[in-house]
Symmetry: C2
Amino acid sequence: MKSILSFVVLLFFATFSKAQQSLNKNYKNDSLQIKKLADEVMVNSTAYKNLRMFCKDIGPRLSGSSNALKAVYAGKKMLELSGADTVYLQPCVVPHWVRGANEEGYILINGIKEKIKLTSLGNSEGTNGKLINAEIVEVQKMDDISKINVRGKIVLINIEMNPTYIKTFRAYGESGIGRRAGPSLAAKYGAIAVMVRSLASNEDDHPHTGATVYNDSFPKIPAVAISTQTANKISAVLQSGKIVKGFLKSNCKMMGTANSFNVIGEIRGVKFPEQIITVGGHLDSWDLAEGAHDDGTGVVQSIEIIRSIKAQAIKPLRTIRAVLFMNEENGGGGSKAYLQNAKQKGEQHIFALESDAGGFTPRGFNLDMSSQKEQVVKEWSPLFFPYGVYDFNEKGSGSDVGPLKEIGTALAGLQTDSQRYFDLHHAETDVFEAVSKRELDLGALNMAALVWLVSKYGL
Amino acid sequence: MKSILSFVVLLFFATFSKAQQSLNKNYKNDSLQIKKLADEVMVNSTAYKNLRMFCKDIGPRLSGSSNALKAVYAGKKMLELSGADTVYLQPCVVPHWVRGANEEGYILINGIKEKIKLTSLGNSEGTNGKLINAEIVEVQKMDDISKINVRGKIVLINIEMNPTYIKTFRAYGESGIGRRAGPSLAAKYGAIAVMVRSLASNEDDHPHTGATVYNDSFPKIPAVAISTQTANKISAVLQSGKIVKGFLKSNCKMMGTANSFNVIGEIRGVKFPEQIITVGGHLDSWDLAEGAHDDGTGVVQSIEIIRSIKAQAIKPLRTIRAVLFMNEENGGGGSKAYLQNAKQKGEQHIFALESDAGGFTPRGFNLDMSSQKEQVVKEWSPLFFPYGVYDFNEKGSGSDVGPLKEIGTALAGLQTDSQRYFDLHHAETDVFEAVSKRELDLGALNMAALVWLVSKYGL
């Protein structure tokens, strides 16, 4: 505990003392250019309007769906309007998972049957329309699946997100193991189905979906998420010594693959066009809601980088490419295709930035690059302070740009104020109305500033 | 421009180099105590539940109303439950302004009369139920009121909040002059009424109220706020050269004064009980909504300081006093009474912290104290970084603790991530549902940490 805190603080100061040394270099002119870009975004941004289009005119955009294809063409149009020099579609292959209709669930306590809300986990298999039922047994950590008798039962994997973690992604990563690996582990020990506590930081009645990953060695048993309220209710009854029976019916299944696209719009660099900077978010979303924060916001911010740089008549030295990735949620088909293309063409990808942490006020950039490159980025950090971005000490980037690490690309991810994110992430509440225009635009302007700095100085 | 940016950055580094020097002192033990307090708040906080009570069980709490009195007794009960050593009411006198029923407004363009939403400004006089009408003339800055002919007209004061200011309170302060001083200035030049563009950062159809201040030298003409959408619409028509006629009817009036209370709960210091630390928010709210962010959140955070310190069995060396102020919105009756009492009793108020910037994720503490005391607080700043608070460079505190400056109290205000605040501030959208439990609790825990540090070390 002590040592972790000290380490964080020391890191913090290391950043700042480094940053301090660079104050005299090109700082002043850069700050003026960034102020112009910032004003351009805060006054004229089209990100919010574009987000409304993705959320309200199109809606949910699950990979392989017709809506996902509509989003491809809408994104292409937006990139064209943003003034990108070239806009094109990049083919990719995505899994085609469908939820099907008539998902339903019940619990039976003391002879009383009560309807509950549930949602099949992405990529999971359903019950083929049959209402299956069994006694529910609860585990609060993964290890317990092998320790109690789950054979023939429905396992409630009830791992709460740790409320004491101030950075919510830490709690998501830690508790997420239940959703990702729980169904196959339960199947290994003979369970017939799994109910997972939603990965949600609040207590309400909205189940949150998300991908699960089956291990082919075990049966692919049905797996659903239930709301935190329902999970708490079942848990309380079980802990009082009573029996809870669960019923569930679903029609989801994996339908093989489908063809789809990444959408790419770029501004060609005037001096080093071969050096490519990628900035992106993902077009696809879960099917329960509008995919506003996840990740409509990252998509429209990426488009806004192109628009604002063009509107300011900036001619970047290096190539800036906005990439609207397909299939981040349940397969990564788009990011695989992007990497494969880069390798085939021998492209030089110097930097890639992802926005997939919700369209909330930015706080920093997570970095995944050599310590030498990290120092370069940290030297720029004072330029971001006037716009609320101060934290350059977290590691990481995002799952769409992540694969570019293989070809040596320096990676980054927008770090947001994600306190509200896991209230709505992958749930029906992730809608346009949950996004603040100013917060969205603040993210876009800080991203634009970082991308522009890399286009000027390289990395 | 350049010099301002450099100044901000230099200030930033000044803070951190100071902070760095203090790393070895009592840092480690303090960080452990603060972690315990933080966990206590993040796991067991009652702030959100208490907020629901103020918002949903009571509702709007305008000074002098029966709801405001209900809030007094609810706050007293909450402080008792929080474990405060003593809880008491402190009488104060507040203005009793009432909106009355049947506010309405119209605009007439091209012979077509259209209903518009409007809301009388707090403390303003109405039309006594008569539908008054006149041609609307627009100004976009205060100076223009004296330059155009406003005699017999309705003046639309259409001063937009500057979207390029990253700190939204700066835009609020600057544009707010129209609401505060516009009606009397327009009256001086013969206007019959004023419509003020709502102090809102978004474009929608919710008018935002707020207090105006009449100058007794001029007629007290009716003054209403209209939504940003309506203001934009009228402005566009006027700028096309057409005439817009405005109609408005209202029944608001000042009814003299009423008796009310501040609510105070304190933990007596075990070593220096005479040294008082105040932490507070305000109980009263505008009448249009639930007063969730303004300032139910500040009230329940202040109560949570008491609860969490008691729950952790901390015995503070100095006295910690949560004060739920009455009448921040339209008179400051509560804060005046608090200062007066302090002076009469010769109390020693060493520090006062206010939370009245919405219950959003905290980013820092604004400070208003001697530079020597500022340095003491800044030396503690590394203790707050793990909880998202890093900015100690803004000046200011809040209007309820502000008057304590007269008796030499060091002042501070919670600085929040206020990008969303002026979407809902003083409007019908400031409701419980707009508050995030985690954001609210993060504010409370950082406040608790600062109050605890002052209780330990003095200031």
